[in-house]
C-alpha cells in the first residue's frame, strides 16, 4: 500500500502542527505550508491525496485556490476549514463540486480532533 499524502495550508503554524500530528498519527506523509504562494509548486511536487485548506489566508483567497485546483483537474480530497462565515465555506465547496472536484468538504473552527480524525480516515 502506498503511503497517503496530506498537504496542509494554514497561515497559523500551531494549527498546521496539530493537523500534521493527527495526519501522521493516521499514517499520512504530511507537508505543511503557510503561504499560498508556495501552494501551486508544492501541490505539483507533492501530489497529495488529501488537502486541508484554511479558506481565508492573508495573500490569496482560498476560493481562488479551489478554482485553480478545479482547473488542474485535481482528484485529491479537499477539506476546507474556516474561522468564520460558513456561507463562504459552503460556497467554496459548492463551487468546487460544481467544477468537477471529486471530494470537497468543510469544517468550522475551532477544530475538534475527533472530527478532524474522522475526516482524514
Amino acid at each position: 500500500m502506498t503511503e497517503r499524502r496530506l498537504l496542509v495550508v494554514d497561515d497559523e503554524p500551531a494549527i498546521g502542527a496539530i493537523v500534521r500530528r493527527v495526519g501522521e498519527g493516521l499514517g499520512y506523509k504530511v507537508e505543511v505550508i503557510q503561504q499560498s504562494s508556495e501552494f501551486k509548486r508544492v501541490y505539483r511536487n507533492f501530489a497529495p491525496d488529501v488537502i486541508v485548506l484554511d479558506i481565508v489566508m492573508p495573500e490569496t483567497d482560498g476560493i481562488e485556490v479551489i478554482q485553480w485546483l478545479a482547473g488542474e483537474s485535481c482528484t485529491a480530497r479537499i477539506i476546507v476549514i474556516s474561522g468564520f462565515n460558513a456561507a463562504y465555506t459552503e460556497m467554496a465547496t459548492k463551487l468546487g463540486v460544481g467544477q468537477g472536484l471529486l471530494s470537497i468538504s468543510a469544517m468550522t473552527k475551532p477544530l475538534s480532533i475527533a472530527d478532524l480524525r474522522a475526516a482524514l480516515e
Binding site: 497559523e12 500551531a14 494549527i15 496539530i18 500530528r21 493527527v22 483567497d61 476560493i63 481562488e64 479551489i66 478554482q67 485553480w68 478545479a70 482547473g71 474556516s82 474561522g83 468564520f84 462565515n85 460558513a86 456561507a87 465555506t89 459552503e90 460556497m91 467554496a92 459548492k94 463551487l95 460544481g98 467544477q99 468550522t108 473552527k109 475551532p110 477544530l111 475538534s112 480532533i113 475527533a114 478532524l116
Partner: protein, 782 residues
C-alpha cells in the same frame, strides 16, 4: 409833611429877623441865619437846608452870587436870590448859577411864600428828572450804545451826553457835520443810510439802518435806530437815534445762518436717507418675515415677543398673531426658565448669546433648539433678536448615526478579537485533545484535561456569540417560512417561557418567505422569548406577530443602515417591565445586561442584532417602562434569484443566443473556468488578462456584445476604467463585473452604483448564466 427847612443869608440883622418871623408865620422852619458868605458856606454844609434865601449884597469880599457859584457840587442847594436892585447885569450873573427863584425887595409875604413854593416844586421836578437821567445813562451804558441827534434843517449831528448833573452847564457833546459822518462810513452803504433817513423824515416815523463804519483797515457794523421828533412851531425836525455796534452779533448771526443753512441741507438730506432707510427697513423686514429659520424679537425689559416670523409660528404651531405677545418662558419646556432669562438679562447688550434649549410647541411637543440671540433696538425699545433653529430632527439623526457607528465599532472590535480567539482556542483545543489521547493512564490528569477542555468549549461558544454579534458567524441562509418555523418552535418556546406566560401568534398566510439562516432565526426568537420571560416575572402575554413590510426610500432615510426593499417584520412583544430610554439605547451592545451578575451574558440581544444585520435586515426596539417591550426584526424577503438550493437544482439556466463575451480576468484559472462555463452555455468567448489586451482584442473583433471584467485588474487600468473606455468606443456594449471582494470600487456602503451589474466570486454556473443573460437583455440606457 415836614416843614420846609430854610437858611437865611442876610447881612442886615433887622431884615433877617423880619424874614425869619415872616417865614415862621408861614409854617417854614428857619434853620439858621448867616450874615456873610463864609458863614453861609459853613451853615449850608452843617445844616443841609431845603432852601437857601440868599441876599446878593453881603458883607465881606464875596457877594451872594459868588458865594453860590463857589458851592461845591455836593453842597449845592436850591437858591432864591434877594436883591434891592433891578440890574440886568446882576440878573445875568445870577442866572448863570441856575437859581430856583429871584425876589426884588421889597416883597410881600405872599410873594415870598409863592417863590419858596415854586422852588420846592421845581426841586422835586428836577430830582425826578435827575433820577430819570440816571436810569437812562445806566441803560445806554449797559447797551453800549451812543445817542445822537440830527437836525433836519442844518444837517448837524450832536452827540447827546447825559451829565447826570443838573447844575452843570448844558453840554451838547460832540457836534459833527452830516457829511463828515457819511464820509466815515462804507461808500457802499451810503444809499441805504440816505434812503432810511429820507423815509424817516418823510414819514416823521422810525429810522432804522445797518451800516459799516470804516475803522483803520477794517470795518465795524453799526446799527442806528431812532425816531423823528417833529419840530414844534418854529425850528426844525430832529432825528434822535441810538447807535449800536453790532459787529459781534452780526458775526454770531452769520454763524447761526450758516448753521441754519447746514441744518436745512441736512434735513433735505435726511428726507432722502429716510426714504432709503425705509426701503432698507422693508428689505430687512422681508428677510425677517420670510426667513426659513424661526426668528422673533423679544423685549429686553419683559421678555415678550414683539414680533415673530412665519417660520417661528409654523415651527411652534401658533398663528403669528397668537404667538406675538407671549413671554419667552411660555415657549420653554424646562421648569426653570429663569436661568435663561437671567443669563439674557446679564448678557451685555452687544453680547451675542447661544444656548441649547428645550422648547415646547403649542401642542405640547418638546423640541430642541439652538437659540442665538443678539441685542438690538426695536422701535426704540431695547430688544433681542432671537433665532431658534430647530435641531430636534438633526439631533435624532446624529444620535442614530452615533449609535450605528458605535455598534459598528464594537462589532469590528469584537469580531477581530473573536477571530484571534478562535484560532487560539483551536490550538489549545487541538493540543489538549492530543494530550488527552496520550495520557489515558492517569485519571487525575484526565480529569484536569477534561476540565480544561470544558473551559475551551465554553470559550468557543462565547466566541461564536461574539462572531454572531459582529455579523461574522457562519450563516446558512435558506428560504424560510416564518409561520412554519414558529409553529415548529412552539414546544420549545412553551418550555422556555413557563406556564405563567401565554403565547399569542399572529402570522398571516400571505406572509412573504424570508432569506435567513433558520437555525439562527430560531436562536434569535428563543433569545427574545427568554428576555421577555425575564421581563414578566409575574407572567404575562408574549405576542409573536409577523407582517409584510415594504420599506421605501423615505423610511430608509429615517434610519441608519436600512436599505429600501421588501421585508417581513417579525415583532416580539411582551407585557413586562419595559426598559428605560437609557437601557434600550444600549440594549444591543455586547455585554450590556440588566440581569444580576452571572445570570446573563449580555450577548443575547447582541447576537440577535448581529444575526439580523448579517442577514441584511435590521432591528428596532420600542419599550415603555411598566408597559412592556416590542422588538421588531425586519428580515429581507426571499427573492426568486436567492431561492433555496432545492429549487435551484431544477432551475433551467438561461442560455446564449449566439452572443460574444469578452472575459477580462488576470487570474488564469478563474478566466479559464469562466470561459469554459460560458462556452457550455453556448456563448462565443474572447479572453484578456488586463485592460490593454482587452482593448486590443476589441480592435481585432467586429462584434462583441458583453464585457465581463474583474473589478480589480493589473497594470493600472481597473475594470470600471476599462468599461468607460470600451463604452466610449462601442456605446451599445453591455458591461458585467465580477469581484471577489465585498468592498470594491463599484460598491459604496454596500450598494452598487446605479446601472452597475456585479457577479460576486465565487459564482455558481446558474448565477453566471442568469447575470450574463440579464446584462445582455438590458434595454440600452437612454
Amino acid at each position: 409833611m415836614a416843614a420846609v427847612r430854610v437858611l437865611i443869608v442876610e447881612n442886615e440883622a433887622l431884615v433877617a429877623l423880619d424874614l425869619s418871623a415872616r417865614l415862621s408865620a408861614l409854617g417854614y422852619a428857619v434853620v439858621g441865619t448867616a450874615a456873610s458868605g463864609a458863614e453861609a458856606l459853613r451853615l449850608v454844609r452843617g445844616l443841609r437846608p431845603d432852601i437857601m434865601l440868599m441876599d446878593i449884597g453881603l458883607d465881606g469880599r464875596q457877594d451872594g452870587i459868588e458865594v453860590v457859584a463857589s458851592l461845591s457840587a455836593e453842597d449845592r442847594v436850591p437858591v432864591i436870590y434877594l436883591t434891592g436892585f433891578q440890574d440886568e447885569q446882576q440878573l445875568a450873573r445870577a442866572r448863570a448859577t441856575r437859581p430856583h427863584g429871584f425876589l426884588t425887595k421889597p416883597f410881600s409875604t405872599w410873594e415870598l411864600h409863592a417863590a419858596i413854593q415854586m422852588a420846592v416844586e421845581r426841586e422835586a421836578t428836577e430830582q425826578t428828572l435827575e433820577q430819570f437821567e440816571q436810569r437812562l445813562v445806566i441803560a445806554l451804558d449797559a447797551l453800549a450804545v451812543s445817542s445822537w441827534e440830527l437836525n433836519a434843517s442844518d444837517r448837524t449831528l450832536r452827540r447827546l451826553v447825559y451829565r447826570n448833573d443838573r447844575y452843570a452847564p448844558p453840554d451838547l457833546g460832540e457836534v459833527r457835520g452830516w457829511d463828515s459822518f457819511l464820509a466815515s462810513t462804507h461808500p457802499a452803504d451810503h444809499p441805504r443810510i440816505l434812503a432810511a433817513l429820507e423815509r424817516a423824515f418823510a414819514s416823521q416815523g422810525r429810522y432804522e439802518v445797518e451800516f459799516r463804519k470804516l475803522e483803520g483797515s477794517g470795518v465795524r457794523w453799526l446799527r442806528a435806530a431812532g425816531r423823528v421828533i417833529p419840530a414844534k412851531s418854529a425850528g426844525s425836525d430832529r432825528l434822535v437815534a441810538v447807535v449800536q455796534d453790532i459787529t459781534q452779533s452780526r458775526e454770531v448771526n452769520a454763524a447761526l445762518e450758516q448753521r441754519s443753512r447746514a441744518l436745512q441741507s441736512e434735513i433735505a438730506h435726511r428726507h432722502i436717507t429716510e426714504a432709503e432707510l425705509r426701503q432698507s427697513r422693508e428689505e430687512f423686514r422681508y428677510l425677517f418675515r420670510n426667513n426659513p429659520l424661526p426668528m422673533w424679537i423679544i423685549s429686553r425689559s419683559d421678555h415678550r415677543l414683539l414680533e415673530v416670523n412665519a417660520a417661528a409660528a409654523a415651527n411652534y404651531g401658533y398663528a403669528e398673531a397668537e404667538m406675538t405677545g407671549l413671554r419667552l418662558d411660555a415657549l420653554m419646556a424646562d421648569a426653570e426658565p429663569g436661568a435663561l432669562l437671567a443669563s439674557l438679562a446679564a448678557a451685555q447688550p452687544s453680547h451675542q448669546t447661544h444656548a441649547n434649549c428645550r422648547h415646547r410647541r403649542r401642542d405640547g411637543q418638546v423640541i430642541q433648539v439652538d437659540l442665538f440671540s443678539h441685542a438690538l433696538n426695536f422701535d426704540g425699545e431695547p430688544a433681542r433678536l432671537m433665532v431658534a433653529q430647530d435641531v430636534t430632527a438633526r439631533n435624532v439623526a446624529e444620535e442614530q448615526l452615533r449609535q450605528a457607528q458605535k455598534m459598528q465599532a464594537i462589532g469590528q472590535l469584537t469580531g477581530g478579537v473573536a477571530h484571534d480567539f478562535n484560532n487560539l482556542l483551536s490550538i489549545i483545543l487541538g493540543n489538549l485533545e492530543l494530550v488527552q489521547e496520550r495520557t489515558t493512564a492517569d485519571p487525575v490528569i484526565q480529569e484536569m484535561i477534561s476540565d480544561a477542555l470544558k473551559s475551551v468549549r465554553r470559550g468557543a461558544r462565547l466566541t461564536q456569540q461574539l462572531l454572531a454579534f459582529s455579523r461574522q458567524q457562519p450563516l446558512k441562509p435558506q428560504t424560510v417560512e416564518i409561520g412554519h418555523l414558529v409553529s415548529e418552535m412552539s414546544d420549545l418556546l412553551r418550555r422556555a417561557l413557563g406556564e405563567t406566560v401565554k403565547i399569542e401568534k399572529i402570522i398571516p398566510d400571505s406572509l412573504w418567505k424570508v432569506r435567513v439562516d433558520p437555525n439562527q432565526l430560531e436562536n434569535a426568537l428563543l433569545n427574545l422569548a427568554v428576555n421577555a420571560r425575564d421581563a414578566m416575572p409575574g407572567g404575562g402575554v408574549l405576542t409573536i406577530e409577523a407582517v409584510n413590510k415594504r420599506l421605501d426610500d423615505s423610511y430608509a432615510a429615517t434610519s441608519q443602515e436600512v436599505t429600501p426593499g421588501d421585508y417581513v417584520q417579525l415583532a416580539v412583544t411582551d407585557t413586562g417591565t419595559g426598559m428605560s430610554r437609557t437601557v434600550s439605547d444600549r440594549a444591543l451592545e455586547p455585554f450590556f445586561t440588566t440581569k444580576p451578575v452571572g445570570q446573563g451574558s449580555g450577548l443575547g440581544l447582541s447576537m440577535v442584532y448581529g444575526f439580523v444585520k448579517q442577514s441584511g435586515g435590521h432591528i428596532k426596539i420600542y419599550s415603555e417602562l411598566g408597559r412592556g417591550t416590542t422588538i421588531k426584526l425586519f428580515l429581507p424577503s426571499a427573492h426568486p434569484e436567492l431561492a433555496s438550493p432545492d429549487e435551484e437544482v431544477t432551475a433551467v439556466s438561461p442560455r446564449s443566443r449566439g452572443e460574444t463575451v469578452l472575459v477580462v480576468e488576470d487570474d488564469e484559472a478563474v478566466r479559464h473556468l469562466t470561459v469554459r462555463q460560458l462556452q457550455v452555455l453556448g456563448y462565443r468567448t474572447l479572453e484578456a488578462e488586463d485592460g490593454r489586451s482587452a482593448l486590443a482584442q476589441l480592435e481585432r473583433t467586429e462584434r462583441v456584445d458583453l464585457l465581463f471584467s474583474d473589478v480589480v485588474l493589473p497594470n493600472g487600468q481597473s475594470g470600471p476604467m476599462l468599461a468607460r473606455a470600451v463604452t466610449a468606443m462601442r456605446p451599445d456594449m453591455k458591461v458585467l463585473y465580477m469581484s471577489g471582494y465585498t468592498r470594491d470600487a463599484v460598491i459604496h456602503n454596500g450598494v452598487l452604483d446605479p446601472g452597475v451589474r456585479l457577479l460576486t466570486k465565487p459564482f455558481r454556473r446558474d448565477e453566471l448564466a442568469c447575470m450574463v443573460r440579464e446584462a445582455l437583455d438590458e434595454e440600452p440606457s437612454p
